[in-house]
Symmetry: C2
Subunit: 234 residues, 2 copies
DNA sequence: TGACTAAAGTGTCCCGCATACACTATCTTG
DNA sequence: CAAGATAGTGTATGCGGGACACTTTAGTCA
């Protein structure tokens, strides 16, 4: 295929899969998307959405493709997690898996029927996962650990919210991911002094309480943030 | 080969390489091991030590194997860095690279002649690298960034020192990696109050100055450390 | 229309950690 | 024993994080 003077003949070739841990927050619960396997191995078991990397496809592109087969929206935050390369992780033989994780806002999200191998997709609370195929449980655990760590020094949490959000919603996202309650005053003080939120003049009247002010995320102070050691994933 | 009921036939196969960014400190300079390529592509250029993953070899094992072809010592700190999966990164065609980085103590290290493809290996200061083959420059930059970040919340720096070391040597390792001077008193206070150093009753008489006390790294307080959010890589 | 409900929104104190900063101690060598 | 060179030590200050409780505001309903 490639007319290069040298070739890759003689080197071992490997099946390479991508698996995506797709997080969202729904009803104040952190959830992960799982699909039911239609084929062996692990037929009928729940697994992470994923598939094989095509012959001329970059690994990132494969992850993006798998992600978009599950979601109808674009512009999703997607980050490579780790490559799982044990020889025993797939009973069919040696399959490398490059794992990714992604964050989507639930409201922006619409599930689409999945083609091919997998028939059925469903969101599961991270804390109540069913048994998973392959080593996918390990991948989810690792993704959650990474996500929790990144909360502390990046702004990825915004990926889980709508464009306009209240501070209570933002705090809720942090609490749900970290699995613990946070102090309201400290949280608000910290977020506001980061200088990355723009207060809107709109309010969210969500029932019969005092309406909450809406905010948007702003990139204008990205430089300032980076000086503080906070990484802005854009 | 595998007698499984299902097979991997029909899926694309990919050549998978591992590349290792091997760091050491020599003469107060952070250095990286590079090898000269004996074959095309990039024949004659400097590149990271690495090679292809064998058919029944785990990716970690391949990285370890490559590492040990370069060093004569075992028990080296080795960590997966990132997987580079662009289609264009190798002119021969699509080659995935799973990159690792490793830290070795210079004194414990003895270079061995490299077999196969590569003839020649040499240490280069990270700040004065020659032009590198493939996307290896990007890999080195990424490894250095990871290393610098990990300094702040792990104890990997000890991997670069001998078993017994002085606080000045430890500080020197931090300074060389971070590329900036640190305050002696603040550094010593911080390290000592972590509770991970054991003061020996031996001293290093390194010339015609006051001898410096030797310390060893101790794992006894690992739990305490983890409570502080510091990760101990053992 | 006023009382109740429910969430929004706000300020202070304290502690630990990071930083800035300079002199004394100890050994070797000539 | 003087000079040279590195080891080793303490204090003051500022900032950020964590603990902690009450007031404000809109909606609802009697």
């Amino acid at each position: 295929m490639s007319p290069a003077a040298v070739s890759l003949n003689g080197f071992a070739r490997h099946a390479v899969a991508v698996d995506v841990v797709l997080f969202t927050i729904q009803d104040d619960v952190l959830k992960v998307l799982l699909v039911r396997r239609q084929r062996a191995p692990f037929r009928g078991a729940w697994a992470l959405p994923g598939g094989f990397v095509g012959p001329e496809e970059s690994v990132d592109a494969a992850a993006l493709r798998e992600l978009q087969e599950e979601t109808s929206i674009g512009n999703v935050y997607l980050e490579q997690l780790y490559t799982f390369g044990d020889t025993e992780r797939d009973p069919r033989g040696r399959v490398l898996s490059v794992a990714y994780y992604a964050l989507v806002n639930w409201q922006r999200m619409q599930l689409r029927a999945r083609r091919e191998v997998v028939s059925d997709a469903e969101w599961f609370p991270v804390r109540r996962l069913p048994g998973l195929a392959f080593d996918h449980r390990k991948i989810v655990d690792y993704a959650l650990e990474r996500l929790r760590n990144k909360l502390n020094y990046t702004t990825i949490a915004f990926q889980l919210l709508q464009e306009e959000f209240t501070l209570t919603e933002l705090q809720g996202a942090y609490e749900v991911i970290l699995g613990q309650r946070l102090d309201k005053r400290n949280f608000r003080r910290k977020m506001l002094q980061l200088g990355i939120l723009r207060a809107m003049n709109r309010f969210k009247a969500s029932g019969r309480q005092r309406p909450a002010r809406l905010y948007t995320f702003t990139e204008t102070k990205v430089v300032k943030l980076q000086e503080k050691g906070i990484i802005v994933p854009f």
